[in-house]
């Protein structure tokens, strides 16, 4: 099954810039469906990025983060060919993880 996580990690000199797009409804709990019923909140709470066993980034999210959430950050380290490990978990206990190669 295809991963819900898209990552583009590019090494620039001593740093690596990471962009990610995650497929997730990020339902806030405030929106009604076609029948007028509230769609329950379903959103990613935590996203983590690891490189060489080091936690290089953590995102703590609430329901105000947009659907199919995007993230961009940079960290010192990483070179072309290295592996980045990405994982997320949501308020319903669902999760996904993937690895990406730094370009």
């Amino acid at each position: 099954m295809a991963s819900t996580i898209r990552v583009r990690a590019v090494a620039h000199g001593e740093s690596t810039e990471v962009q990610s797009l995650i497929q997730h409804p990020m339902d806030s709990g405030f929106v009604k469906d076609k029948d007028g019923k509230l769609i329950p909140p379903h959103y990613i709470e935590t996203v983590t990025f690891d490189w060489n066993g080091k936690r290089v980034f953590t995102a703590f999210w609430g329901p105000a983060v947009s659907k199919d959430p995007y993230l961009k950050f940079s960290f010192k380290g990483g070179k072309k060919g290295d592996t980045l490990k990405i994982g997320w978990s949501d308020n319903e206990g669902k999760s996904d993880e993937t690895t990406a190669t730094i370009l």
Binding site: A2, R6, R8, Q19, S20, L21, Q23, P25, S66, K67, D68, Y70, K72
Partner: protein, 288 residues
């Protein structure tokens, strides 16, 4: 009087009428259809209204004509939200039908790099064929159930096929066939006709108010407006095809929308695409 006509004689009167008919112009006030002239005038209007916008940039709709919106668009395009649909579309396009055939077997050039030629006028069936219609005809021909229009898999396949045509300018043909001209004229009529409780035509927003605000939204110019389809609209949180937008636009002016791929919508798409000949395909795209 009666006696005078009787005097001339019936045959002579008939000859006179025939003579006059040959010499005088037709009684009807209809002008001859001239799509090429329409296209020149259409494009000239928008190039003059937006002198700093390059022809291909018209494909970007509101982002071509508003700086603050363009900045938000550039940010989103760093990692476009249609990425998932694009990948799904490629997979769907390449997956064989139950009978072993694929979409490539139905389309010219194996379906790659052809989106800019749609819609086209099918002289055999006498109707306008859009890409979506062609996709479903392909499925039916190969024993598969047709896809729902507007959303989902149809939008995903559109997204993939459009992406293979990026950079190729719209090249819509209107053959020298009265039926094709009639379809074009129907589409043109639709575009300029007012409808709905709000009594707007497509032109009210996308010609007269292009680049201006409709409440909080900036209106896209009609030139190139279909070149970025299918689109991921933030408002929908998902992909939508040309049908989806035609239907939602009609509903927004509070008119009763037509069914997807209704002949009128196909004619409208034919007209709008022909008007945009020369604008490069940029789909899939994103919109507010």
């Amino acid at each position: 009087m009666r006696m005078a006509i009787a005097a001339i004689g019936r045959r002579a009167a008939a000859c006179l009428v025939l003579l006059l008919a040959l010499v005088l112009p037709p009684a009807s006030a209809e002008q001859r259809s001239d799509p090429a002239a329409d296209q020149r005038a259409f494009q000239a209007y928008f190039r003059k209204a937006f002198p700093s916008v390059g022809l291909n940039d018209f494909a970007n709709g509101p982002y071509a004509v508003d700086k603050d919106m363009r900045k938000q668009w550039e940010e989103i395009m760093q990692f476009p939200p249609y990425d998932f649909a694009l990948d799904d579309g490629k997979k769907l396009f390449e997956t064989p039908f139950k009978n072993g055939k694929t979409y490539a077997d139905c389309f010219p050039q194996k379906g790659i790099g052809i989106r800019q030629n749609y819609p086209y006028f099918d002289r055999q069936t006498g109707e306008v064929v859009t890409l979506d219609l062609a996709i479903n005809r392909c499925r039916e021909k190969n024993g598969e159930t047709p896809l729902a229009y507007q959303v989902g898999d149809m939008a995903a396949i559109d997204a993939y096929m459009a992406s293979t045509s990026r950079g190729k300018p719209f090249a819509i043909e209107i053959p020298d066939d009265p039926r094709a001209l009639a379809a074009y004229e129907e589409g043109k009529k639709f575009f300029y006709a007012r409808r709905g409780q709000l009594n707007f035509s497509c032109a009210s927003c996308h010609v007269q108010a292009a680049g201006k605000r409709l409440r909080g939204d900036i209106l896209a110019p009609a030139l190139g407006i279909l070149a970025s389809f299918p689109i991921y609209r933030s408002d929908w949180g998902s992909m939508g095809t040309v049908d989806r937008r035609f239907i939602s636009c009609n509903e927004q002016v509070r008119s009763v929308a037509f069914k997807p791929e209704d002949a009128l919508y196909r004619d409208l798409e034919y007209f709008l695409s022909y008007m945009s000949n020369g604008v490069a395909i940029a789909g899939p795209g994103t919109r507010p």
